[in-house]
């Protein structure tokens, strides 16, 4: 409480141009162990908000996973501080699986994501940090956006597969034209069938057929990925994308 009150008038003073005076007027912060954190903290109270917290993020170690809370100095913070509840700046080293406390693998329990997602938003959502500093509101906006991205990427098989490949450093050349006649002819037939279908029963039948194929190729991806056969894994994701596209078309029509 007291700290926030001090931040207010200080910022006004800084805006008025009394920057240095404002900084000196601030009483010393409670002891924060490492010098790196101390130096970055002094930057926080300087004036404009944007530059400082970006600097903090790029410093990485001073905040984020397992780092120290910028607010109270507690260690082992992850996205938000367990001690004081302050939202931390985004740590680029954290991956989506870590956010949801999952192993980095394809076969995850999708239904377990939602609970964790809601838990995170209760701690990170920008709407819940109205009373906090502009800096912390900025952190909240970024962290909550990150969690949303993570949730969306992990909940769908194709995006999860592509993300896993990305984490492994596999480059997928999306520009290269596909010439596989078998796949393309099959897709042509499927898309034509969807196009010509007039009643919902036919569409649903086609949809379930495609979904079954999606599942088969999803399993193929799993096997290929586990064997680290990335060429086959990428091929599987390409098939999955075609089938997902076809499913989208049936959904549009239904």
């Amino acid at each position: 409480m007291w700290r926030r009150a001090r931040t207010g008038p200080l910022r006004l003073a800084a805006a008025a141009g009394g920057r240095r005076a404002g900084r000196r007027a601030l009483p010393p912060l409670p002891t924060i162990p490492s010098s790196s954190v101390a130096s970055s903290s002094s930057r926080i109270f300087r004036g404009s908000v944007w530059a400082p917290y970006r600097t903090l993020s790029s410093e990485g170690g001073a905040s984020g996973r397992g780092g120290e809370c910028w607010n109270c100095g507690a260690t082992g913070v992850f996205l938000s501080c367990g001690s004081c509840g302050s939202v931390q700046p985004v740590d680029p080293a954290v991956d989506y699986f870590q956010i949801f406390g999952l192993e980095r693998e394809y076969n995850i329990k999708e239904h377990s994501l939602e609970g964790k997602y809601k838990d995170w938003q209760k701690k990170l959502h920008p709407d819940l940090v109205h009373t906090k500093s502009e800096k912390e509101r900025g952190f909240a906006a970024e962290q909550s956006a990150l969690v949303i991205d993570a949730y969306r990427t992990l909940s769908k098989p194709l995006s999860r597969a592509l993300y896993l490949l990305k984490l492994e450093g596999v480059q997928v050349d999306e520009e290269k034209t596909i010439n596989d006649p078998e796949l393309l002819m099959e897709m042509m037939e499927i898309r034509e069938a969807v196009n010509d279908a007039t009643d919902s029963e036919t569409l649903e039948k086609i949809q379930s057929q495609i979904k079954r194929k999606l599942e088969t190729w999803s399993e193929t991806f799993q096997e290929a990925f586990d064997k680290r056969d990335f060429n086959s894994a990428v091929e599987a994701t390409q098939r999955m994308r075609y089938y997902e596209r076809a499913v989208e078309e049936t959904v549009k029509k239904l």
Partner: protein
């Protein structure tokens, strides 16, 4: 640069859904496609299918991995002159992909096969004022043309090989 094509009305790019009713045209204009793209989308030239097994027909079937599009371009070649006398296309994809293949089907008609393989995707893209994000659609059309020609030539070769036996 492409967007500032002289005298052409252009609105920033968007994504159209393949519904083919008249209201979709107005919607597409609002969402922002060049008028030529909208024209090809609403009045596609040469949509259709040729008999794959017809010896004078070359079929090019290509796909774009990024968006799951499928494009089929077929050509009918006059054996004697080597000229492409007719073309048909069928594309499942966005408005730009449909328009690109429609343009391709128009441009190959009446040309020699050596000429059409020289058609560059940049020419198609320029003609349609495609935004950068849709350039791969014109690339797909260029690949479709080449694939159709390749298929025809392979068929001709096989026919000659059989005739020799």
């Amino acid at each position: 640069m492409m967007l500032r094509a002289a005298g052409k009305r252009l609105i920033a790019g968007g994504q159209a859904s393949p519904a083919v009713a008249a209201p979709a045209a107005a919607a597409a204009m609002r969402r922002g496609y060049h008028e030529r793209v909208v024209d090809h989308y609403n009045n596609p030239r040469n949509v259709g299918t040729m008999d794959k097994d017809d010896p004078d027909v070359g079929t090019g079937l290509v796909g774009a991995p990024a968006c799951g599009d499928v494009m089929k371009l077929q050509i009918r070649v006059d054996e004697a002159s080597g000229k492409i006398v007719d073309a048909r296309f069928k594309t499942f994809g966005c408005g730009s992909a449909i328009a690109s293949s429609s343009v391709a089907s128009e441009w190959v008609k009446g040309k020699q096969m050596e000429e059409v393989v020289a058609i560059k995707n940049s020419e198609i893209a320029k003609h349609l004022s495609l935004p950068p994000v849709k350039l791969h659609c014109s690339m797909l059309a260029e690949d479709a043309i080449k694939a159709a020609v390749k298929d025809y030539e392979a068929k001709k070769k096989a026919k000659l090989a059989m005739a020799d036996e």
